[in-house]
């Protein structure tokens, strides 16, 4: 099976992934606010976050995450579509937007195809993973 590997250290914040995802789903238009991947900024870093499951309640763990010598707000890395986080919702209808992997065969994950920096890579992982 396939997974999208995200390397935030390579991300330049170009938002090509957001454009690609929105075009792939809207089919005739682009709109980053309707993408199922959003590039969130935390301090001086960009974190491409792919929208995951929709949850009915916000979590209450609010932990910090330490990567290298920096501490980040966990909310910025979390993939959940939660009531607290408005980024993975259609801006007009508020319908949660969840990554559907674009159909893994053709045409394949649009975000990976348009990511020019190598921050998003499609990787094959063992099925039990």
């Amino acid at each position: 099976m396939y997974r999208i590997k995200v390397d935030h250290t390579k991300c330049t914040g170009c938002r090509y992934c957001e454009l690609a995802c929105s075009l792939n789903h809207l089919t005739t238009a682009l709109n980053p606010k309707k993408a199922r991947i959003r590039v969130l900024r935390e301090k001086d870093r960009f974190f491409p976050v792919i929208s995951g499951p929709c949850t009915e309640a916000a979590c209450n763990i609010k932990i910090d995450i330490v990567i290298g010598d920096r501490t980040y707000d966990f909310c910025n890395l979390c993939r959940a579509v939660c009531p607290y986080k408005e980024v993975f919702k259609d801006p007009k209808t508020e319908t949660p937007l969840q990554c559907d992997f674009c159909g893994i065969d053709a045409p394949g994950p649009a975000c990976v195809k348009w990511c020019p920096s190598g921050a998003l890579v499609l990787e094959e992982v063992p099925a039990y993973y």
Partner: protein, 434 residues
């Protein structure tokens, strides 16, 4: 319309009146974007010293995903230069304005007190912020973003001015999302004249494409090709820089730096260290060749001061060089030794110093127009060097600039990819006139 939104927003700061207007298709087709469109709108609006307006214009490809399709141009009448000036805004302001539904934004009148303009696809309002007077652009961005939720604030794009733009000066530039806008010297002061401290935009509308499937294939292929040739591109750029012998650039751009990009730009020529933008190629050239700054600490201190006060670093370098030359021949009574950053900082902090007059005023006052031309030509010639290996670079660059794209796109993408993408995005053929 496809590619464009076909609408302009007019805001009058004197009375807060906001109006949406349709833009003639003819105008957009003849002036597809960039400063050509912004200046044409300025001409139609009869922008002058007495009737000054700020014009923002995005091109047909802004925000569509065409490589480097991120720019928006801003124009206004700069009194100290007695002309309409125009500068390209990098990063994401233009695409965001387009997602608010507008290709063009016209700001007229003068606010009764300091204010900022907030535009979404649902409303545009003038918000009084008297307390923001004297704020640095970074402080303004922080105040604006923190007045919304974290996620909403993350998507707001901002242009602002610092202290330099609040007073009459030839150096007052713009800052967009933390990045100083090169060549915006004087435009910041147009914001200041209007008591406009900032513009914040956040849009959620679609940008429609005429032939979406064709467009998607063009961009997919172009990015695939870019990824395969990426190393070669960076080699070429390094060779150009090595040829130009800019030791300051090597110093600034080495070590722990992070590459950042404007919207839809695979090249990512912007650099940050610890969250702050570093001087780009043009600024590094200006600092080292015009101001003769040799060490990195001095260059970064100066750039930092520019960011805090909202000073256009290119205008600062040109004016600084003018003063150095005028002082040498005894025309201007000022002490400015090449490479002495302390003297330069003192002149910046002295608000009555000649430095704040800007290069154009100095050239006129001291009848030294040729000197100014020579200095600006030096910058232009160096920038041209970057495109030396590209056939018909002048013509292609002019087309890209007219489309509101970054000319650096030519270094990484075949010209015909851009032209085909234009046709797929807008459904119209691009006719290039001499």
């Amino acid at each position: 319309m496809f590619g464009w939104q076909g609408k302009a927003l007019r805001v009058n700061l004197s009375n807060g009146f906001v109006e949406e207007e349709l833009i003639s298709e003819n105008l957009l087709e003849n002036y597809v974007g960039g400063c050509r469109l912004a200046k044409e709108v300025a001409r139609l609006e009869e922008v002058s010293a007495e009737k000054n307006k700020l014009i923002f214009a995005s091109g047909a490809l802004t925000g569509t995903g065409v490589p480097t399709g991120a720019f928006c141009s801003v124009a206004g009448y700069v009194s100290l230069q007695e002309d309409i000036l125009c500068a390209p805004l990098l990063l994401r302001f233009g695409p965001e304005l387009k997602c608010c539904g507008y290709d063009v934004l016209i700001i007229e009148g003068k606010a009764p007190e300091w204010c900022y303009l907030f535009i979404t696809d649902e409303e545009a309002k003038v918000i009084p912020v008297a307390e923001m007077e004297g704020y640095t652009p970074a402080e303004i961005e922080e105040v604006i973003r923190s007045s919304f939720s974290k996620w909403y604030g993350n998507d707001i794009r901002i242009i602002s001015i610092g202290k330099e733009g609040e007073q009459p000066s030839g150096l007052g530039g713009l800052v967009t999302d933390g990045l100083l806008v090169n060549y915006s010297g004087g435009l910041g002061n147009v914001f200041g004249e209007k008591r406009l401290k900032a513009i914040a935009v956040r849009g959620t509308l679609d940008i429609k494409l005429a032939k979406a499937a064709v467009f998607q294939k063009i961009i997919t292929d172009a990015i695939k090709d870019f990824r395969e040739k990426r190393n070669k591109l960076f080699e070429t750029v390094h060779t150009v820089f090595a040829r130009l012998e800019l030791p300051l650039s090597r110093e600034i751009h080495h070590g722990e730096i992070e590459k950042k990009a404007c919207l839809a730009c695979p090249i990512a020529c912007l650099h940050q260290r610890e969250g702050k933008f570093l001087p780009n190629f043009t600024v590094t050239f200006c600092f080292s060749e015009l101001l003769e700054i040799e060490n990195m600490e001095d260059a970064l201190t100066l750039y930092d001061l520019c960011e805090k006060r909202g000073i256009d670093p290119v205008a600062l370098s040109v004016t600084g060089r003018m003063l150095i030359e005028l002082a040498k021949v005894g025309k201007a009574d000022v002490t400015l030794t090449p490479g002495d950053t302390k003297q330069l900082v003192a002149l910046i902090e002295d608000e009555s110093s000649l430095l704040h007059k800007g290069g154009f005023w100095l050239a006129q006052h001291y009848q030294s127009e040729t000197l100014l031309q020579d200095i600006t030509k030096k910058i232009d010639t160096t920038r041209e060097e970057i495109f030396a290996q590209i056939e018909e670079a002048g013509k292609k660059k002019a087309v890209l600039e007219a489309l509101g794209l970054c000319p650096y796109a030519l270094l990484a993408f075949p010209y015909d990819v851009i032209i085909k993408a234009f046709e797929a995005a807008t459904g119209k053929a691009l006719e290039v006139k001499e």
